[in-house]
């Protein structure tokens, strides 16, 4: 293999050179002997023998070329040269490598999160052939189904090649009498078969396991097996106790597969039918109104997502009709199909947009950092002009010079990239602090070939961005020019122009970054301060689980009634109530309204959103009752069904005059439904329902104690003024303990829930603020560098001006003006870019338009202040120069 020899030869040049010398030396000596034998003098003979070779150096070079690969040899040279140079200026190297490491590290970290979230397929057979079923309604989508729905989907459609369903749940598992809370899942029998997951050990479920009789088997997750059983192969056949009931372990899933819900890697799975054993009294498997399963399908060959859609849409309502009347919160909407190859992830739904914004931010910061390094390299190029000129004069090729300078940039970038990959893990850990705990663990940094390729590509790109300008400048140096100091002016101005261009671009990018950060900060502030129609301060939320404490069925209502009246009687509590849905917590319940006398236009949706609330709910929430009354304890099953609507509802359907009118929500097939034939007894102020950003919805409240469901949901507690929430929650626990000792209770402030609601916005605002600040700092360094260089270059001129009587103020202003000019150009370019860019985040803003003039003006002002600072410091130094010394400097 000749090229391997030559490759090796490229690195063993010295030895090759010695050998060649020996070889030629032998030849010369032999010739010399020959000539001496033919009668020449030894001296003359040696001379003649040598001359036969002509230019010996050239011969040697040509011969050596045969043994080596030329460009590798020069690359090797360039690399060593670059490293030597970087070692010689440790300050520059440290700053450049550190900023690149942070930049590349942050980009790699965010990319790894995006990769996991948006690009990683489930480790199953043909992940692209997996689809998730969802129910869409207007723009809202949900993916929960009843078990009966799953049965219909499995048996009623020819479209599907396989249908699976599952739900996640935490299990209390007992091994050797030690209880542990683990992540579990109920899966249908064909779950693993349809996904095409092969066991790491034993076997996985088959449909026959998923029967009431067979559902006493369990499959362990790999990491759980590793953690708890130290990968003991004898675990197969072992009996573990889940919620106190025995299950036999039959297999272990492979390491890479931890369930179809990627942010909930589960430890143990059991068949869906096991729910009958674990909760004997529940009717989860028969109820048509409990939506608790996620459903995924594979399509029959030849059927695409597109061709399946109309079938699903048409067939689904027909199948549902068999159920007869749907319960009040029937999701009788369109069945739809979505790609499912990446599995299901709540974190993905919630945070992918934020991560894309974050990716853009870190890319911009890296760009700004590159600009600084480009400027530093440009400055070095000027310093090394003499060296370059000498080399050009000695005949160095220009491409060779460019290559050498680019090699230097590449070495610098590689050092930064290498350190960045090292840092990426820590940066990811830092970013994860902004995401919900536990759920985002799967986003932790993973170093694989894709990450390395990304980091390498980024490194090369940065090297080109900051290295190309300086190296091209080197190549354009006219030969001999730099040897002659007097022409320094012209090429100095050239470099200054380049550096100024770089700084202007840097300021423009920085402006975009700062504008974005200001818009996000403003949005967060608006979100936090906005009035959502109720008072958030002094509000506690209590979640109770009366069923676990023995209050089952109708007795749960007794618990709630007792609990609420005891709370009301407590001096520290002004009032307490209960609601099925807590505002802004994300829960939803909707159906179309049928209002007598109101004929909807064609295609007009009359969807309204519902809540079931107890008496004193509006008093507790602090939502004003505008007309009529709240629910009272008298509104129970013995009296006629009443409703309270919000202002928007009253205005849309009754022109505001709603009290005393009747309407129905839902299909109204069954007179007995909770939402049929409601009489409006009150109108309340508008409140937000599901989330802060939604358009005002038409809301209907029904009386909790009239409903068949009875009391359930979350308890709201309004504290009396000046009551400490912690003290109050202790008291609330005590009261709950008196009523039902065993009932588990969770108390939190509404503010805590609200914080979680704003979590993503806070993450974006904080991180964009941080990166904005970083961008400003980098832009300041860039501007300062250029200004300081300008002062240096103009020392002579400044000296003359001062000698002629210029005031130091004038000198400072001269430099300041220069810096402000650069920043202004940056702003002139940056403002339109920011205006365009901010349109992409419009959906993300709240209470502020993308083209908000305040944000833009503030961003421009920030940039100008930074520019003034960056100009003032070198300006002041210039003004304190001694004119005589300054004049002599030239």
């Amino acid at each position: 293999m000749s090229w391997i020899n030559r490759l090796l030869g490229s690195f063993r040049k010295d030895r090759l050179e010695d050998q060649l010398d020996d070889e030629l030396q032998f030849h010369i000596e032999m010739r010399t002997q020959e000539f001496v034998a033919s009668g020449m003098l030894p001296e003359e003979a040696r001379h003649k023998a040598s001359r036969l070779f002509g230019n010996q150096t050239l011969l040697k070079e040509r011969t050596r070329e045969m043994d080596t690969i030329g460009w590798i040899e020069t690359l090797w040279q360039d690399l060593r040269y670059a490293l030597r140079l970087l070692r010689k200026s440790p300050g520059f190297t440290a700053v450049a490598v550190l900023s690149l490491a942070l930049g590349i590290g942050a980009n790699t970290a965010v990319f790894s999160m995006l990769d996991t979230l948006l690009l990683t397929k489930l480790p199953v057979r043909d992940p692209d052939g997996l689809y998730q079923l969802v129910v869409t309604h207007r723009s809202a989508t949900h993916n929960s189904f009843a078990y009966t729905d799953y049965q219909k989907l499995r048996d009623g459609f020819d479209t599907f090649d396989g249908v699976i369903a599952w739900t996640t749940s935490s299990f209390e598992i007992q091994i050797n009498n030690v209880p542990e809370e683990v992540r579990g899942a109920f899966v249908t029998g064909a779950f693993y078969e349809v996904l095409g997951v092969k066991p790491a050990l034993g076997r996985l479920f088959v449909p026959s396991d998923d029967t009431v009789a067979g559902a006493s088997v369990a499959v362990l997750g790999y990491s759980y097996w590793e953690r708890t059983f130290a990968r003991d192969p004898n675990v197969i056949g072992k009996v573990v106790h889940i919620e106190g009931l025995p299950f036999t372990v039959i297999g272990v899933t492979p390491r890479e597969f931890a369930g179809a819900e990627v942010d909930y890697p589960r430890d143990v799975t059991v068949p869906v039918q096991a729910i009958k054993r674990l909760q004997p009294k529940s009717n989860m498997l028969e109820s048509t109104g409990s939506y608790w399963l996620r459903v995924m399908v594979r399509l029959k060959p030849g059927i695409t997502m597109k061709s399946a859609r109309p079938v699903l849409r048409d067939l689904w309502p027909k199948l549902l009709e068999d159920d007869g009347a749907r319960p009040i919160d029937g999701w009788t909407q369109k069945l739809n199909i979505e790609p499912g190859g990446m599995g299901v992830s709540g974190v993905r739904n919630e945070f992918s947009e934020a991560l894309i914004i974050l990716m853009t931010l870190v890319a911009l910061v890296l760009l700004i950092a590159c600009a600084n390094i480009a400027n530093l390299l440009l400055a070095r190029a000027t310093v090394r002009r003499r060296e370059v000129a000498v080399r050009i004069a000695l005949g160095a090729g220009r491409t060779r010079l460019v290559r050498q300078w680019l090699t230097e940039s590449l070495v610098l970038a590689s050092l930064g990239g290498f350190a960045g990959v090292m840092l990426a893990h820590w940066i990811t850990q830092g970013l994860l602090l902004f995401l919900p705990k536990g759920g985002a663990g799967f986003l932790a940094f993973h170093l694989d070939i894709r990450m390395l390729l990304f980091a390498a590509a980024l490194t090369t790109a940065t090297a080109l961005i900051f290295g190309l300008l300086p190296s091209l400048q080197v190549a354009n140096l006219p030969p001999g020019s730099a040897m002659n100091e007097s022409v320094r002016g012209s090429s100095g101005r050239r470099r200054t122009l380049l550096a100024r261009g770089v700084v202007i671009a840097q300021v423009a990018v920085c402006l975009v970054l700062v504008t974005g950060a200001l818009l996000f900060a403003r949005s967060l502030q608006n979100l936090a301060r906005s009035d959502y129609g109720f008072q958030r301060e002094g509000l506690l939320l209590v979640n109770a689980n009366p069923a676990k404490g023995g209050f089952k069925g109708d007795r749960a209502s007794f618990f709630y009634k007792d609990f609420l009246s005891s709370l009301d009687a407590t001096p520290a509590i002004r009032s307490a109530s209960c609601a099925f849905i807590t505002p802004l917590a994300g829960g939803m319940w909707w159906d179309p309204a049928v209002v007598p006398g109101y004929t909807p236009a064609r295609n007009e949706m009359t969807t309204v959103y519902l809540n079931s609330v107890s008496p004193r709910y509006f008093a507790t929430m602090g939502t004003p009752v505008l007309v009529g009354r709240e629910f009272t304890d008298a509104d129970d099953r013995t009296t006629r069904r009443v409703a309270i609507v919000n202002e928007s509802f009253a205005r849309r359907f009754f022109h505001g005059d709603a009290v005393g009118r009747n309407f129905t929500v839902g299909d109204g097939k069954d007179d007995d439904q909770d939402t049929v034939n409601l009489e409006i007894v009150g109108v309340v102020a508008n409140t937000k329902y599901g989330q802060p950003r939604e358009k005002q919805k038409e809301l209907v409240y029904i009386a909790m104690y009239q409903g068949k469901r009875g009391a359930s949901g979350t308890i709201q507690v309004r504290l009396a003024p000046d009551i400490n929430p912690d003290a109050a929650s202790g008291e609330i626990r005590k009261i709950a303990g008196r009523i039902g000792k065993e009932v588990p209770i969770e108390v939190q402030t509404y503010d805590k829930l609200f914080k979680r609601v704003l979590q993503q916005d806070r993450m974006v605002a904080l991180l964009s603020g941080f990166f904005g600040l970083l961008g400003i700092t980098l832009a300041f360094v860039g501007l300062y560098g250029v200004m300081a260089y300008a002062v240096n270059a103009r020392t002579g001129e400044i000296g003359i001006r001062m000698a002629l009587g210029a005031q130091s103020r004038t000198v400072i202003w001269m430099i300041l003006k220069d810096s402000l000019t650069l920043a202004s150009w940056g702003a002139i370019i940056g403002v339109p870019v920011a205006l365009v860019a901010s349109r992409f985040i419009a959906s993300y803003l709240f209470g502020v338009t993308p083209s908000d003039p305040n944000a833009l003006v503030l961003a421009v002002l920030t940039i100008l202040i930074v520019a003034m600072l960056a100009g003032y410091l070198p300006g002041r130094r210039a003004s304190s120069l001694d004119p005589m010394i300054a004049l002599r400097s030239e």
């Binding site: 032998f26 030849h27 011969t63």
Partner: protein, 110 residues
């Protein structure tokens, strides 16, 4: 063999080197002397062409080299024909005779 069409001449030089080495291992000086002698001093291999050619042919794998001792007890680099080189030599000899036959025909015709 200094001036002229380098492609033809280079190929010719390769052929001469390979043919010389077919007799047995030899160092660069020996190869040059042999070609000169056998051709009755008509062909003189220039040192400036010989060594680059030797190194190139070696990288092509036709010859291999090792350090040995010459008859006057000096360290010298000996080149040896490899199996691949032997085949290459046969090919080049064939090419060469075809070429000379063709040139001869042209000369006769004219």
């Amino acid at each position: 063999m200094s001036k002229g069409n380098p492609d033809v001449l280079q190929g010719t030089l390769d052929l001469l080197i390979l043919k010389t080495l077919a007799r047995g291992p030899q160092h660069g000086y020996g190869i040059a002397c042999h070609i000169q002698e056998v051709s009755d001093e008509v062909l003189r291999v220039e040192e400036g062409s010989l060594y680059p050619a030797l190194h190139r042919i070696e990288q092509a794998g036709w010859i291999s080299s090792e350090w040995g001792t010459s008859h006057n007890n000096r360290r010298a680099k000996y080149y040896r024909l490899t199996a691949v080189g032997r085949k290459q030599l046969a090919r080049e000899e064939e090419n060469w005779s075809q070429l000379t036959r063709a040139v001869a025909k042209v000369l006769r015709f004219a």
